[in-house]
Symmetry: C2
Subunit: 344 residues, 2 copies
C-alpha cells in the first residue's frame, strides 16, 4: 500500500510534509510517494535519515497557493502537486492521497478526477469531535464542503458518516443524529425536516435530532448537518476553547496561589488539550469520492500529517468506500425519492 | 416604572419568581406587579419580608405549561399569566414584562397582542455572549425565534442588535457582523450573501463576515444569524464549556497534586464561570415588538430573574424601541428593497 503525499501545499510546504513522511515511514513502516518539486524534496529529504526504500519522489512542476481559486487552479494547473497526486490515485498507482494544501482545490480536484461514488450527489468533509466519554468521539459532517444543501445530501452524509464510523471507528451500530435546534420531531428548517423523513426510514440507526449542547455528551456517534452549520459549529467549539484558555490565563495572574494551582494542573490541562484536539487522528476525510483523500489544515504540524498518512491507510485498508457503496445500494429507493422530490 | 412579572411559568413557578421580585424590589427599589394565581402568590409572598408598597399582585386564572403548544395556548388560555401580563403592557399599565415561562408562548403572545414595530417583519431573541475582553461581550441574534429566515430579516436583526448595543450596552458605534463560514465577501449560503448586500449599504457600522471562532475575540459587538444557526452556535458554546468542565473533573482525579491545583484555582474557575454565563444580565430581550419583553430560561434561578427585572427596566428607560424605530426609518429604503426582492 502506497500513500501519495502532496508536499507543495500547506503553510510550510515541503519542509513539514517531508518531515511527516519520514516519521510515518519510520513509525508505521509505510510506503510513501512524495509529490512535488523534485529538487526541493530531494534536498529536504537529505536532511533526514529514513528507511530509503519506503519513500520515493514523484515530480510535479506546479503548486496551488493557499489562496488560489480552486476552479481556476483546476483548469490551469494540470501539473500541480495535488492534481498529479490525485491522478496517480485515479490510475491505481497509489492507494490514497494526503494533502495539507488548499482545501477547496483538493476537493475540486478529487471530485473532478476521481468522480463521486455512484448515487452520491455531493462529497462531504468529516471530522471527529470529542465527547465527555474519552473513548467515544463523534463524527461531524459536513464541515464545509457544501454550503447550500438539499435534504437528500444530508441523508447521504448520514450514510457516509455511518460507513466511516463502522470502519475507521470500528463501531457496530453507530447512532446517527441530525443537528437541530431542538430534539422533537418537526424542529428545524425545512431542509432539516425533510432530511429527517429520509433518515428515519433508512437502514441507519437514526436516533433523531440532537442539539448543539447534547452532542458532546456521548449520546450520538454521527452528527449530520450542512457545511455552513457544520463549519460554524466547529469554529464555535474552537472559539470557546480559546476563550476558556485565554480567560484562565488572565485570571490566573490575579494571585500566586492560582499560578501555583495552574502549574499543578498542567497534567489535566494537557489531557484536556489532547482530548479536545483531534490532531491524533490526523486530517479530515473527504467522503463520497472514488478514492481515499485526507485533507489536513494548511497549518498542520508534521505530527498531524504523519497521523493523516496512517488515517489514509486505514480508510483504504478497511475499504471504506465499499462500505459507503453498500449502504448507498441498501438505501437506493430513499436516495432516489429524496432527489426526485427536490427537483419538483 | 412598573415591571410585570409572570410568576406561573418556569420550572419552579411562583416560588422562584416571587423570590426574584422580593430581591429586585429590595435591591433596585423597583415597583413590580406579580401576575398569577393570587392565593398562591400571596401565600408565597408571606414567606418574605419586603418593601410592601413596591410589590402588588394581579390575578390570572390560567397557566401555560412549559410543554404546551404556543399557538393553542394563545387561542385557548386568554387568562393565562403571560397573556394577562402582556395585556397590561399593551394597555400601558406596566412598562415591561419579564417571564421565565414557555418561550414560544411568551413570544407568540407578545407578537399577537403588542404587534411588531412598524416595518419590522419578524421579532428576534438576542443574547449576550462573552468575549476575551472582559468588558466587551457581544450580542448574538437571532437565537431561536426564526428558523427559516429571509435576507431582509437578517438585515433587520442587524438594526435591532445595533439599537440594543447603543442603548443597553452604551456603545457609540457598535461593530455589526454576519456569522459566516469564512470572512471573505461572497461566503455563505444564498440568504447570508443577500443579507450582506443589504447590511453593507446600511447606516450600520457593518464590518463584514465573522467566523464562529473569531467572534469571541473582541472583534465585533453584534453578530447576526438566523435562529437555527444562532441556536446551534449558542448550544455548541454551552456544550463545549460543559465538556471542558467535565474533562477537567475527570482528569483532576488522576493525581493529588492536580486536585490541590484545582482547589488553588477556584478563583479563576469561578471568574471563568461568571464571565461565560451571562445570568448577570438576566434574560434575553425579545426585540422587534411594541413593548419590552424579557424572556428567561425556564430553569432560571431567582438571582437571574431579579437581574432580568433590572434588564427590563433598562430597556424601557433607555427607550430601546424608539431607537429601533429610528434605525428602521433611516434604512427604510433598504428594508423595502429587501422585502420586495424576496417576494419576487
Amino acid at each position: 500500500m502506497v500513500i501519495a503525499l502532496d508536499v507543495m501545499g500547506g503553510d510550510v510546504p515541503v519542509h513539514s510534509p517531508v518531515e511527516a513522511a519520514v516519521k510515518a515511514a519510520t513509525d508505521f513502516n509505510q510506503e510513501i510517494l512524495l509529490v512535488g518539486d523534485r529538487d526541493q524534496v530531494v534536498s529536504e529529504l537529505a536532511q533526514h535519515s529514513y528507511p530509503q526504500k519506503l519513500i520515493e519522489v514523484f515530480h510535479s512542476s506546479e503548486t496551488v497557493g493557499m489562496d488560489e481559486s480552486p476552479a481556476l487552479s483546476l483548469r490551469q494547473k494540470k501539473d500541480s502537486s495535488i492534481r498529479v497526486a490525485v491522478n496517480l490515485l485515479q490510475e491505481g498507482k497509489v492507494d490514497a492521497v494526503v494533502s495539507a494544501g488548499n482545501t477547496g482545490a483538493s476537493m475540486a480536484t478529487a471530485k473532478f478526477v476521481l468522480k463521486l461514488i455512484s448515487d452520491i450527489e455531493r462529497p462531504a468533509i468529516a471530522t471527529l469531535m470529542p465527547s465527555t466519554n474519552r473513548n467515544n468521539p463523534f463524527v461531524l459532517l459536513d464541515i464545509g464542503a457544501n454550503i447550500d444543501c438539499k435534504p437528500s445530501y444530508l441523508f447521504q452524509f448520514g450514510l457516509m458518516g455511518d460507513a466511516y464510523a463502522r470502519t475507521v471507528l470500528n463501531l457496530e451500530n453507530p447512532r446517527v443524529a441530525l443537528l437541530n435546534n431542538g430534539e422533537e420531531e418537526g424542529k428545524g428548517n425545512q431542509i432539516v425536516q425533510d432530511a429527517f423523513k429520509l433518515l428515519e426510514r433508512s437502514t441507519l440507526n437514526f436516533v433523531g435530532n440532537i442539539e448543539g449542547k447534547a452532542m458532546f455528551q456521548d449520546q450520538v456517534d454521527i452528527v449530520v448537518c450542512d457545511g455552513f452549520v457544520g463549519n460554524i459549529a466547529l469554529k464555535v467549539a474552537e472559539g470557546t476553547f480559546d476563550f476558556v484558555r485565554s480567560v484562565l490565563k488572565q485570571e490566573v495572574q490575579a494571585s500566586w496561589m492560582a499560578r501555583l494551582g495552574y502549574l499543578a494542573m498542567r497534567g489535566p490541562f494537557k489531557s484536556l488539550k489532547d482530548r479536545a484536539d483531534y490532531s491524533e487522528v490526523g486530517g479530515a476525510p473527504l467522503l463520497g469520492i472514488n478514492g481515499v483523500v485526507i485533507i489536513c489544515h494548511g497549518n498542520s504540524k508534521p505530527h498531524t500529517i504523519r497521523n493523516a498518512i496512517r488515517h489514509a491507510r486505514q480508510c483504504a485498508e478497511l475499504n471504506l468506500n465499499d462500505v459507503i457503496s453498500r449502504e448507498v445500494s441498501e438505501n437506493l429507493n430513499l436516495i432516489q425519492e429524496g432527489s426526485e422530490n427536490l427537483s419538483e
